[in-house]
């Protein structure tokens, strides 16, 4: 789809968009706004009318099971929508600029400098045949115009800042010589090399051991406090959400079904899907016996979503009116949910 077509679509008068839920934090600069984003193939939509916003120094968590559209939303936010998919509607603005108005060169310029992304499998994301120090230095050479000599020196400082001991010699290591946690630290160092305004972490700690995960989460919180970056954290683990989020958007089958400040979400989840996710959690700190309150069934495939609310077939509260798709609406200050019964749950 060309830029013009996207504009034509997003300018179309027919569609009513869900307003973007905001945190009551007017002083911080808005870094990323995704407004009514719909992405899909000719046959099915994978992301439907998603609106999210993240401000400087704020961490937004995207939560949901696999296939709910979390990662695709992030890729679209980076201007990296896969070629097989089309952006059918919606606007993404980054620091006030409409991404769809930028050409590929301008986008490439922004990516890596102003926005950066880290993935689950750091080992696979790194180049296996280049030393990690050089890989970090390359970012600085490309985006900041440093000389290789300067960049290599700074790469060592960056490795130290992400808590790698003996950074001088680690910079000379190849990815396979480092542990998974160490590779993830290298990825973070690389992502933070240009002090991006936005950092997207897609299941960045999922593959790590708990102790390493705790270290990486702590590190990311500290680095955020230092740089004031906005962060989007994609995860399916509500424990990680409790650790790092300011605001949470819960996604189910391509849509945001709940959006709230983290404390409100944990204290009074308003969508039955969120409530189900909370209920089936097994936490190491609390004793549990017998059957877990599992959510029966599975996430529907995008080509075969049920009519009305997509969660209807799995929902313990499903009723007649659920045949009508529920809109994402405010339940109380800053807490939004897409359920006809939202607000009725204690």
């Amino acid at each position: 789809m060309t830029t013009l077509e996207v504009e034509a679509l997003s300018a179309g008068p027919s569609r009513q968009r869900t307003p973007v839920p905001r945190l009551p934090m007017p002083q911080a600069e808005t870094v990323l706004t995704v407004d009514g984003l719909t992405v899909g193939t000719a046959r099915a939509d994978l992301v439907i009318d998603v609106s999210i916003e993240v401000r400087a120094s704020e961490t937004l968590c995207l939560v949901g099971e696999s296939g709910c559209g979390k990662s695709l939303t992030c890729l679209a936010a980076m201007g990296l929508t896969p070629e097989s998919l089309t952006r059918k509607a919606g606007q993404i603005s980054f620091l006030g600029d409409d991404l769809s108005r930028l050409n590929e060169n301008q986008l490439a310029d922004i990516r890596g400098r102003d926005m950066a992304m880290i993935f689950q499998d750091a080992m696979a994301a790194l180049n296996p045949v280049r030393r990690v120090g050089m890989q970090i230095a390359e970012v600085l050479v490309v985006h900041r115009g440093l000389t290789w000599r300067q960049a290599e020196k700074q790469a060592i400082d960056l490795l130290a800042s992400v808590g790698i001991a003996d950074p001088q010699s680690r910079a000379k290591a190849y990815p396979h010589q480092l542990s998974g946690g160490m590779c993830q630290r290298v990825m973070i160092a690389m992502a933070l090399a240009c002090r991006p305004k936005l950092l997207i972490a897609d299941e960045a700690t999922t593959a790590l051991d708990v102790t390493t995960q705790a270290q990486i989460l702590k590190l990311m919180r500290e680095l955020q406090a230092e740089t004031g970056a906005a962060m989007i954290f994609v995860t399916h683990d509500l424990g990680v959400v409790a650790e790092i989020a300011d605001r949470v958007a819960v996604m189910y089958s391509g849509r945001v079904v709940e959006n709230a400040v983290v404390d409100d979400l944990f204290e009074g989840p308003q969508h039955p899907y969120t409530r189900g996710l909370m209920a089936c959690r097994l936490h190491a700190a609390s004793e549990s016996h017998g059957r877990i309150a599992a959510i029966e069934g599975t996430v529907p495939s995008p080509a075969r979503r049920p009519e009305g609310c997509s969660f209807r077939p799995r929902c313990p509260h499903a009723a007649e009116q659920c045949i009508e798709p529920p809109a994402l609406r405010p339940v109380r200050g800053g807490h939004w949910a897409a359920c006809h019964f939202a607000g009725d749950f204690a």
């Binding site: 102790t211 204290e267 959690r281 877990i292």
Partner: protein
């Protein structure tokens, strides 16, 4: 009831790298481990990657032999891997892995795979096997789905099929190596419920290996904590979590993410 697995003084050493310029290196994956799985018990094994918990599981399942040490099921020592006696014994101890799509044959229906498992152990005749396969699939929540191929199933359904294939042999013990780790949380809960139902019904014992402390706490009667090939602490599940004795266990528990943001803030206040 039978199904007691005893591992005595197990050592497993992997040797590697006889390169031209490098000498041989060896890794002691399991280092003098003694554990016993009581009949019908769920013994959880926790530890970080590289702690040797999967190696220990493979030795308990009889698909890998220890460098030294002794393994037995109900007092009978495991036969040499590959021998006819060993093949017969496999029926008693089955194994379930993390990735069900890799554990299933993509070119066979799941019904045929369950039938093949029975045929390999010469159980029943063709008719009997078919009836048993149907019964087993219904039991794991896949009624009438024997004609499906694995790619036609979701991840949770695939793991159910794997469980059906393991349990159709009526094993006394099932070694579950990260059996629910790759599943979505809601599906994970379904599979844990299923494993617990099957345990209550058939009295199967589980050796449940996982890095997920929440899952292990819920499913286990007893827990063994492994670090660098050594079991550093064992005890009743509730006891280990309430009152960890070993420093390593304590550090593992301290690293578990907070249950709520309020809990996280409370922890940060304690540290500050």
């Amino acid at each position: 009831m039978s199904g007691r697995v005893v591992l005595q003084d197990i050592v497993k050493v992997y040797r590697s790298g006889s390169g031209l310029f490098r000498g041989k290196t060896s890794v002691r994956a399991v280092d003098h481990v003694d554990i016993m799985l009581e009949p019908g018990e769920t013994l959880g094994i926790v530890g970080e990657s590289g702690s040797g918990k999967s190696t220990l599981g493979r030795i308990a399942a009889g698909i890998e032999s220890p460098t030294s040490g002794h393994v037995s099921l109900d007092g009978r020592s495991y036969a040499r891997i590959g021998s006819a006696a060993w093949r017969r014994e496999r029926r008693g101890v089955q194994m379930i892995f993390q990735n069900p799509s890799k554990a299933l044959d993509p070119r066979m229906t799941i019904g045929a795979q369950i039938g093949e498992a029975m045929q390999a152990h010469r159980l029943s005749d063709t008719q009997g096997r078919k009836a048993r396969m149907e019964e087993m699939l219904a039991l794991v929540g896949l009624p009438g789905m024997g004609g499906r191929y694995s790619h036609q199933l979701s991840g949770g359904q695939q793991q159910r099929a794997v469980i059906a294939r393991a349990l159709v042999l009526e094993p006394r013990v099932v070694v579950c190596d990260e059996a629910v780790s790759a599943l979505d949380v809601s599906v994970q809960a379904q599979i844990i419920n299923l494993l617990n139902d099957l345990k209550a019904r058939f009295g199967i014992g589980y050796l449940f290996i996982s890095h997920d402390l929440g899952v292990v706490r819920h499913i286990s009667d007893r827990i063994a904590v492994m670090q660098k090939g050594v079991i550093v602490e064992t005890g009743r599940a509730a006891e280990i979590f309430a009152n960890p004795k070993h420093d390593y266990t304590r550090s593992l528990l301290a690293a578990v993410p907070a249950a709520t943001p309020a809990e996280r803030r409370a922890r940060e206040r304690r540290i500050a």
